[in-house]
């Protein structure tokens, strides 16, 4: 009934079937991150760049561990992993460390982790298992819409109350992308968008003051050039003044004059674009596109539904990261705190993204594995 060919697959077989071009692209983008952080530190390697390297190495270890696990184990534990990550989110208001007015971090054995970064991927795991095990693919309403929406809404709610609108958005869109791939009827998407637009005035009431300000500012950054529009205005000046060829490595005046705070995290693309110009920005975007298209191609080779949903979900989450971040610094999206993968300074997002690519690679390595339907944990 089932193919047993993969059971005998040894670690070295698996290592051989890893897509090393994917890893090469990841390392290239990471290397650009090191260059950027080195520039932001004014030529000092010892603070940000070195920690970035350490985190990347830790990320690689996680990548290989996850990639080489038995896919069946990942399948079996998809729900428990999701539940653990949700519990970590729920615990945040009680045990979280408050930074800048938001409780997003949880301290654990000397590390400070952001559970919301991992939830992006654990949600995909849970949804992939759910759709894989779904009994009736014709029931659009209950099985494909209500239950999955409920699964998505739980983590989104906890992240929104942190409050961290940006991450909530990434989680939500990541979840929606899996629902989309599962084949839910178009009409639900269209009505969902309509309901969202109509309910905007009500949602508006629940936004915090600074979140409302950000939305105002998004539509008119010049309205408040020093408060909330400051980031967008300064980011655009920095990018634009970089021109086609850029101001040269470590020569970005706007970035180095500290016009933008927190340059090393969410606004790192700005500095890169200022110093390397349009050409540098486009090369970086092309690298991300290459990474995503290879990932999608890898995802489609999988035989099991679980692997497909999981891999495609990982691709979507990664894409959303990149798009929201660059969209934000170029002023086409509101300023929400979303890091640029492999480049922004930040441990949790680095580890989470590597975890995601580990899952993707696992599915690719075990593309032939078939899985039974299981609705049990």
């Amino acid at each position: 009934m089932f193919s047993h060919s993969n059971i005998e697959a040894t670690i070295s077989d698996k290592l051989k079937s890893i897509n090393y071009f994917l890893l090469f692209l990841i390392c290239t983008i990471f290397f650009i991150g090191i260059l950027a952080l080195y520039s932001i530190s004014d030529g000092n390697f010892s603070e940000w760049p070195i920690r970035h390297v350490q985190r990347f190495i830790l990320g690689l270890i996680i990548f290989f561990i996850v990639a080489l696990l038995d896919l069946k184990i990942i399948f079996r534990f998809a729900y428990p992993i999701f539940i653990v990550s949700i519990v970590a989110l729920m615990l945040l208001p009680l045990v979280g460390d408050e930074i800048n007015g938001a409780k997003r971090w949880i301290s654990f054995a000397g590390f400070s982790l952001q559970p919301s970064e991992f939830v992006k991927y654990t949600l995909i795991l849970a949804l992939a298992k759910y759709f894989h095990s779904m009994e009736d693919y014709h029931d659009n309403f209950f099985s494909k819409l209500i239950i999955p929406t409920f699964i998505v809404i739980i983590p989104v709610t906890f992240v929104v109350i942190q409050p961290d609108l940006g991450t909530a958005l990434v989680i939500f869109l990541g979840g929606v992308s899996v629902i989309w791939i599962s084949g839910l009827n178009y009409k639900y998407f269209i009505s969902g968008i309509l309901v969202f637009i109509l309910s905007l005035p009500i949602l508006w009431q629940y936004l915090k003051g600074y979140q409302k300000e950000r939305v105002f500012t998004f539509f008119n950054p010049e309205r408040d050039p020093l408060g909330n529009g400051y980031h967008i205005t300064q980011s655009k000046i920095a990018l634009g003044s970089g021109g086609i060829f850029g101001k040269g490595y470590m020569e970005g005046t706007q970035s180095h004059l500290n016009f933008l705070p927190e340059m090393q995290t969410d606004f790192i693309f700005t500095m890169f674009g200022e110093e390397f110009g349009f050409i540098g920005s486009i090369v970086l975007i092309l690298l991300y596109m290459a990474l995503i298209s290879i990932s999608i191609r890898m995802a489609l080779t999988s035989k099991s539904l679980f692997s497909k949903f999981l891999s495609l979900g990982v691709c979507s989450v990664f894409f959303i990261y990149v798009f929201v971040n660059i969209g934000m610094v170029t002023g086409i999206l509101p300023v929400v705190g979303v890091p640029l993968p492999f480049i922004s300074y930040g441990g949790s997002s680095m580890l989470a993204v590597m975890f995601g690519f580990g899952l993707l690679t696992n599915c690719y390595v075990n593309y032939n594995t078939t899985l039974t339907k299981s609705s049990f944990i």
Binding site: D42, Y137, S177, W180, I181, G183, P225, L226, Y230, T233, Q234, K236, I237, A238, L239, G240, S241, G242, G243, I244, T253, Q254, L257, N258, F259, G273, G277, F278, S281, I282, I285, Y288, M289, I292, S293, I296, A299, L300, L305, K308, L312, S316, F319, F323, I326, G327, T330, G331, I332
Partner: protein, 623 residues
Amino acid sequence: MSESNKFIFKKYDLDASINRRTAIITIAKAGLFTILASRLAYLQIVDKDKYKILSDNNRITHRLLEPQRGIIYDLQGKPLAINRERYEVVIIREETSDYIQSIENLKNILPDIQIDTEKLYSKINKTKKFIPIKVLDDLSWDQFSMLNANIHKVDGIYPQIGFKRYYTSGPSHSHIIGYTAPLDKKEKDTNTLADLSSAKSGKLGIEKSKDFNLRGKLGNKNIEVNANGREIRELDRYESTRGENIQLTIDSELQDYCYKSLNDQSGCVAVTNIKTGEFYALVSSPSYDPNLFSKNISLEKWNSLTDNIYKPLINKAISSQYPPGSTIKPFVALAALENGVSEKREVYCNGKHEIKDTSLESGVKTFHCWKEEGHGKVNMNEALKVSCDVYFYQISREIGINKIAEVCKRFGFGQNVFKSFYEEKKGIVPSKNWKLESIGTPWMVGETLSAGIGQGYFLTTSAQLSHALGQLINGGEKINPTIVLNKKKDSQKKQKISLNPQHLAIIKKGLEDATNTQGGTSYRSRISGNLKMAGKTGTSQVRVISSQEREEGLKKNNELPWDKRDHGLFIGYGPTNNPQYAVSVIVEHGGSGSGAAAPVASKIFKYLFDNNLNLKSKSISNV
């Protein structure tokens, strides 16, 4: 259709759907990436000139606003430490076309100023090009306006207005108020003003101990600057928060009067309100110009202050420790009374007291009374009045050092008087345990005798003396020693120090007789009239008198070099019928308590009695 066929059909259908939907989502991603690329093309190609101009010519930049330091007032609301405008000049390297030329032009505009160009250039080269570097500090108004009139000749150079501390009340207040100076290296990480290049912090006195309250909070402003970094307009401003104003319990006029009464002798004075513990004066002499440190002080000037044998930089009232000498006797007498020695007990003084000492050839160690020929028969009252050493040798020996130490500590000796003066010293109250712990040898009987007349290991400070006397004379009420006015008078029930009123009456009588009856040690300094002072003189030796010298005849103090002469001390209270104040006076190497210190105290008491009503504080409004 069989069940399995249906399943296969569905699965096929699903795979196709997944591929189709993935294709759609991939196209959408490509589309969104295209939007990003177009957006970047728009910013970085189409609009690049606009943004280049914005970047080069029209920057929004952030400047910190210095807070004004809180003002320090005296008890009467007179400002003692205020802020004045300070005119300084900074240079920003990247905003000059040639910084050496800019500095040369600056020199031409202000020919009478000195600039250490070598040092400045190396600093300019080491600092990031957009950080302002101070070129000149504390210009006169004339220089400042001259520079402003010629500002177009010096690009990258900016005149700025800041604040500097100014002390209004002269050298008498220098020690107590202290001064401010640029932050130390250590403070750069912790001080809340550290981001400000001109940040200063208190280094001594109230300026240091209340630095956190006085310093205020930084403000900032965002300004639009042009290609030369010149401010075009201010966009917004978050005002700095002024530091808290502080009112002292020090009465400035009294402080001045006490300082003048010391008449440039090296010494110190403390005046305490014995009901509240507030210090009305805390004086150290000689002193220095308090505004000396507002400017950069020259090495020469600094050395002349540190090398001065009268140590003008030290706040002697709290940081110099002296043997209390006979001023400790009221407390030793109290210890004797509490340990069963009757006031009527008589001791015969023949000028010396001998104890066995096998380490000496003679087998006997002799302790001398200050009066060589002796006082004859004395009781406690007489002993306090004439300050008979032999009497105190005898009773100290009987009660032992630990009983003396206990009483002295009870009234505040051996402990810091103030909570937060880091320069304060706490003195020493010797006891058997103390010696074992800090010196490591057992206590000797002879040391009890020395301690009984406030010599030997005993050390105290002027502030401690007046505070301890205050707590004794007020009947054993624990008071809260302070020089900062406490606006909310605490209504808490005052703690009591164990003190038998009968014992206090005996001590007070002894001190009153010492000042106000003929033969008393401070009789010459008595105050006639209704309001009188009472007190105890003290003369503390700073050298060991050898037996050879004693045989050859003691040298008079004025025959000795200054730093070998005895310290003169006096502690007193008044008015005797209703005590309000405790005063301690120490004249370093003044020769004797009765000759050097008591007359100073007498003048101060007279001033206090005459100006009694003026010592009611006027509260300031904290703006």
